[in-house]
């Protein structure tokens, strides 16, 4: 523990009763009022903007596009960029587990009972990035996706179908095969999975991202590693790199037309 934190803890222990307040009623009143305000706000919001529930599903009515409620549209937008197995199961599970482990991987004692950014820059910035990405996906899903889930700007004609895209998406494996003239015959075959040289390179590329991501902060910010310890450091970096990886994967698809980074018969990343 750092000296400043020790001093702070010591100061808290020796605080005289005149400088403290009781939990009841001082804190509990504030909590009660917060609960009432939150409930009233939710009630008000749900009255002015009801949930978009429609009639029973029917084969005669097939809206285009079919959109999830707004809070799920971020996930629905992820389906554009990821395998359904990843976008619908793995990523949401990782988000939930990642949020659950935050209190366990955070040894920083600062910020208890008061608001601070200056004493928890990495935590606040990392969380803000995740929240920003989550909300921008919702914004995209709500306001820019029109017929056939095509991208519509506010000034586009939302009643006319966009012409079919001319962009051809290619797996990274094929890009490597064509770029370096690698053989298409598999080196090893595991059941349905024929592992080619290009496929191996994509694995190196994918796992290399994590390897570099784990190693560079360890070498450059040893203090960060020492504070967290081995297990907490690895957990934090895994979730942080995966979160940034979601953004990177989306950008790779938009800029280099890469459909999947790694392809196996069972899953595609």
């Amino acid at each position: 523990m750092e000296i400043s934190a020790l001093i702070k803890n010591e100061a808290e222990k020796t605080r005289s009763p005149e400088d403290t307040v009781l939990v009841w009623p001082n804190l509990v009143y504030i909590e009660l009022i917060s609960i009432l305000v939150a409930t009233a706000s939710l009630l008000f919001l749900s009255i002015i903007s009801p949930a978009p529930l429609e009639e029973l599903a029917s084969a005669d009515t097939t809206p285009n596009p079919t959109k999830a409620p707004w809070y799920f549209l971020g996930l629905q937008e992820l389906l554009v960029y990821f395998d359904p197995w990843l976008a619908g199961v793995v990523l949401p599970t990782m988000i939930i587990i990642g949020l659950i482990i935050i209190p366990y991987v955070d040894p920083n004692p600062n910020g208890k009972g008061y608001y601070t950014f200056s004493e928890r820059k990495f935590s606040v910035a990392g969380f803000s990035f995740g929240l920003g990405l989550w909300y921008i996906l919702i914004v995209i899903g709500v306001w820019t996706r029109g017929l056939d889930w095509s991208w519509y700007w506010p000034w586009s004609d939302w009643h006319v179908h966009m012409s079919v895209t001319a962009v051809k998406l290619v797996d990274l494996e094929l890009i490597f095969e064509n770029m370096f003239g690698l053989p298409k015959e598999p080196l090893v075959t595991l059941g349905r999975y024929g592992i080619t040289v290009a496929n191996l390179i994509t694995w190196v590329f994918f796992l290399g991202y994590y390897a570099v991501g784990f190693t560079v902060p360890f070498l450059l910010f040893r203090n960060f590693y020492n504070k967290l310890g081995l297990i907490r450091y690895n957990l934090v970096m895994f979730f942080f790199l995966s979160m940034s990886g979601v953004m990177l994967k989306m950008l790779l698809r938009l800029t280099f037309n890469i459909k999947y980074l790694v392809v196996t018969p069972w899953f595609k990343i």
């Binding site: 606040v124 991208w151 700007w153």
Partner: protein, 46 residues
């Protein structure tokens, strides 16, 4: 170039994604920093 940045407005989508995320991230951080400052000032007033 057209193949990469042509239809459907991929340059626009990319910039929207990058700057939108950056803007929201900076906004959230700014809000936290602002809260920190305003709570500090409140303490001093007391």
């Amino acid at each position: 170039m057209d193949e990469i940045w042509g239809y459907p407005h991929r340059l626009g989508i990319t910039l929207f994604l990058i700057f939108g995320t950056a803007l929201l991230t900076v906004g959230f951080i700014g809000f936290t920093a602002w809260l920190e400052q305003s709570f500090k000032k409140e303490k001093i007033k007391k």
